[in-house]
Amino acid sequence: MNRIISRSVLLFVVPSLVCFLLAFFVPFIWGVVLSFCEFTSLTDVTFVGLANYIKAFTVDGYFIQSFFFTIKIALVSVVMINLISFALALILTSGIPGQNIFRTIYFMPNLIGGIILGWIWQIIINGVLVNFEQTILSNSAYGYWGIILMSNWQNIGYMMVIYIAALQTVNTDLIEAAEIDGAGRFRTLTSITIPSIMPSITICFFMTITNSFKIYSQNLSLTAGQPNHQTEMVALNIYDTFYSRIGFEGVAQSKAVMFTLAVAVISLAQLYITRRKEVEN
C-alpha cells in the first residue's frame, strides 16, 4: 500500500509542478533577466547592465515615494484587518443567533473583483464628499483612507473565516481548566486562545501583508495615484513606468524585481517573528 502511494506521488505532483515551472518559475527568471536589459518585446532584448536600476531612482522620486506610501497603507490595514476580523470571528463563534448568515455576509465582499470594487467605493466616497464640495481627488488623505477602507472591506471576511476555523479547534479542556483555575475571559483569551491559534495568526498576517503590498487594481480605479502621485502605490508606479515612456520597460522591470525582494524580506521577517510564538498543541 505504502509503495503504491509513494509511487503515485509523482503522478499527482507532476502536473502542478509542470504548470508551476512554466507559469511561474520561468517567467520569474525571465523577469529578473529582463531587468538588466532594454526591451520592447521578448524577441528584442539588449543587455544594459545596471542602467535600469540607476534610472529607477534618478529619473524621478516617485518610486521611493510610492514605496513609503505603500508601507503606510500596509501598516494600518494589516493591524485593522486582523483586529476586526479576529473580533468578528470571536463574536460569530460565541453562539449568537444567525451567526452562519453573518459569516456568509461578511465573506461576500471578497468575491468582488478589484476594479469593480474600486469603482463602487469611488462612487460611494464621492457621493459623501459631494456634500462638502469635494471629491476623492481633492485631498490625498481621502485616497489614503479610501484605499484602507476598501482593503478592510475586502479582506476582513476572508481572514475572519480563517480565524473562525482556528477558534473552533481550540481545545475546550484547556479553556475549562482555565475557568476552574479562576481565569477571567480576557485572561483565557490571551493565555489560552491566542497561543493556540498562533499558526492561523501567522497565516493571516502573511496574507494581509502581501495583499496590502500588492494592491493595484483597487488603487487604479479608486484614485489612479492622483492627486499628483500622492496616492500612488508601488504596483501602480511600476505599471505606469512600463508604459509612459518609450524605452522604459526595463526600468519598470527593475523596479518590479526590487519590489519583489522587499516584499519577500518583509514577509519572511514577519514569518520568522510570528512562528517563534507558535506553540505545539
Partner: protein, 445 residues
C-alpha cells in the same frame, strides 16, 4: 500504465500551453477608436467577410489604454495584423514592429504621399482619418440666447464670435441667463477624472504649443520645430489659463467637483441640453447622438475655434490633424500581410467599404478613392466648412510633438492640483517646462 498516464498528462499540459492561436485567413485589427467599436464588429466585419470570404477580427482597446493593449497583444501568438500609431513619437516605440508599406495597394490610394510616416528608409505608417477639434456648441441654445432682449453683447450670432473677448463676454452673460436658457452651465464639465484629462493636456495645449513653436521655427513648420524642441517655455501660459478658467467658472459643475467627472459625463451633459459648449473633436458626433434621451438636433451641432486670446486669432480656424496612422505588423506571414492590405484597400475603395467609412465611421481621409464622396457626419461637414472658409487659417496638431506620455501625465497632475487649489499657476508652468526638458532628453532629442 502510470508512466503512460504521466506522459499523457505532460503532453496535454504542454499542448494546451503551446497550441498556436489564430484562425486561418483572418485579419486582426486592433482598433483605437472606442466610439466606433460597435460599428466595426456589427457592420464592418460582417460586410468584409461576406464580400471577400476573409474573416475580420476587431479588438478595441479601452479608453486611453491603446499603448498598453498593443504591447501585450503584439507579444501573443496571434498578434494584430493591423494596428495604429499616433504619429512620429508613437512610431518610435514600435519601430521594430512595422512592415514596409510602399508596395501595398492601400498606399497607392493616398493622395499626398508626404503625409505618410517613414522609418528605416521605408514608408511604414499611413494616415487614415483627418480629425478636427474646437469648441462644439449647440446652436439652438445660442440662437435662444441671442434672441434675449436683455443680452449684454452687441453681436447677434455664434458665427460672430471671433476672439477670446467675444467668447468671454457671451459666456459670462449666458451664465447670468442660465435659468431662462434652461441650462446648468455654459460649458460641459471640465472633466478631470483619471484618464479624462487629455482634452486639456493635449488639445487645449495645442494652441500655446502652436504659437510658441511657430515663432522659434527657423523655417520649419510648427510640428517639425516641436518635434526637435529640447525646451518648451510655455510662453503663452496665461492664454491657456484664461480659457481654462473660463471653462471652469462657467460650467455645469463647480470647480471642486470636476475631478469626479469623465468625458462621457461631459458629452452626456451636452447631448441632454444641460450645457451649450464643450471642447472636443469631430469624433464626438457618434457620442452625442448616441446618448439615450439626446435632445440636440444634429443640424444644431457646430464648431467654433478655440479662442484664448492669441495674436491674430480672428483668422484662426479649428485644429485639424491626425493621430491615426495604420501600420501593418512586420512579424506576420506574407499571406497575412497581403490580407491586411486587402482589407484596408477594400475598406477605403470598395463601394460597401466607402459607404461605411464615410457614413458610419465618419472618417475624412485624403484618398483618391474617396474624392467622389461627401461626408454625412455633421461635425465632419463642419470641419470641411472651416477648412474651406475664406480668410481662416487651419491650426495643425502640434501636440503630436509632446515628447512622452509622461509629460501629459505630469502636466495633467499639475492641472488637477491647480483645480484643487493646492498649486499656484506659476508652479503648473514650472512643471510643464521642467518635465518637457527632462522628457525631451530621455527621448534622445
Amino acid at each position: 500504465m502510470k508512466k503512460v498516464l504521466v506522459s499523457l498528462l505532460i503532453a496535454l499540459c504542454s499542448f494546451s500551453l503551446f497550441a498556436q492561436g489564430g484562425a486561418e485567413n483572418e485579419v486582426y485589427y486592433l482598433n483605437y477608436k472606442a466610439v466606433a467599436a460597435d460599428i466595426y464588429t456589427d457592420e464592418v466585419a460582417p460586410a468584409f467577410e461576406e464580400e471577400t470570404g476573409i474573416a475580420l477580427k476587431v479588438v478595441t482597446a479601452a479608453s486611453n489604454q491603446y499603448t498598453q493593449t498593443l504591447m501585450s497583444e503584439l507579444a501573443k501568438n496571434d498578434p494584430p495584423d493591423i494596428f495604429q500609431v499616433n504619429g512620429v513619437v508613437g512610431l518610435q516605440g514600435r519601430i521594430n514592429d512595422v512592415a514596409p508599406l510602399e508596395n501595398t495597394e492601400f498606399y497607392k490610394l493616398l493622395n499626398d504621399k508626404s503625409t505618410a510616416l517613414s522609418a528605416n528608409g521605408h514608408v511604414v505608417a499611413i494616415p487614415y482619418a483627418l480629425e478636427g477639434f474646437g469648441i462644439i456648441y449647440n446652436d439652438a441654445i445660442m440662437r435662444e440666447y441671442f434672441a434675449l432682449p436683455d443680452k449684454a453683447v452687441d453681436i447677434s450670432s455664434a458665427e460672430e464670435i471671433k476672439s477670446f473677448e467675444d467668447l468671454k463676454a457671451v459666456v459670462e452673460d449666458m451664465t447670468k441667463h442660465k435659468e431662462e436658457l434652461g441650462i446648468d452651465g455654459v460649458f460641459a464639465s471640465t472633466a478631470m477624472a483619471p484618464g479624462s484629462d487629455w482634452r486639456w493636456t493635449t488639445h487645449l495645449m495645442n494652441l500655446p504649443l502652436y504659437a510658441e513653436f511657430s515663432e522659434n521655427s527657423e523655417g520649419l513648420d510648427a510640428v517639425s520645430a516641436g518635434l526637435a524642441a529640447t525646451e518648451f517655455d510655455f510662453k503663452y501660459n496665461e492664454n491657456f489659463k484664461q480659457l481654462f478658467d473660463l471653462y471652469l467658472d462657467n460650467s455645469t459643475v463647480s470647480r471642486a467637483l470636476v475631478t469626479s467627472r469623465t468625458i462621457a459625463d461631459a458629452m452626456a451633459e451636452f447631448a441632454l441640453g444641460r450645457c451649450v459648449m464643450v471642447q472636443n473633436g469631430n469624433w464626438a458626433t457618434i457620442q452625442i447622438l448616441g446618448v439615450d434621451g439626446n435632445v440636440v438636433n444634429a443640424d444644431d451641432i457646430k464648431f467654433m475655434p478655440v479662442y484664448m486670446g492669441l495674436e491674430g486669432e480672428e483668422e484662426q480656424g479649428i485644429c485639424i490633424g491626425t493621430e491615426n496612422y495604420f501600420c501593418i505588423n512586420s512579424h506576420i506571414s506574407d499571406e497575412d500581410k497581403a490580407n491586411a492590405d486587402k482589407y484596408l484597400t477594400w475598406l477605403f475603395s470598395s463601394p460597401t467599404g466607402k459607404d461605411l467609412v464615410v457614413n458610419r465611421l465618419g472618417f475624412i481621409a485624403d484618398y483618391s478613392s474617396l474624392e467622389d464622396t461627401e461626408p454625412s457626419d455633421v461635425l465632419a461637414v463642419e470641419m470641411q466648412r472651416w477648412m474651406g472658409k475664406e480668410g481662416t487659417k487651419t491650426i495643425p496638431w502640434v501636440f503630436s510633438c509632446i515628447p512622452s506620455d509622461q509629460w501629459k501625465m505630469d502636466f495633467g497632475s499639475a492641472l488637477l492640483e491647480y483645480v484643487n487649489g493646492t498649486m499656484e499657476w506659476s508652479e503648473v508652468v514650472n512643471v510643464a517646462v521642467s518635465s518637457w526638458a527632462r522628457e525631451a532628453e530621455l527621448a534622445g532629442r
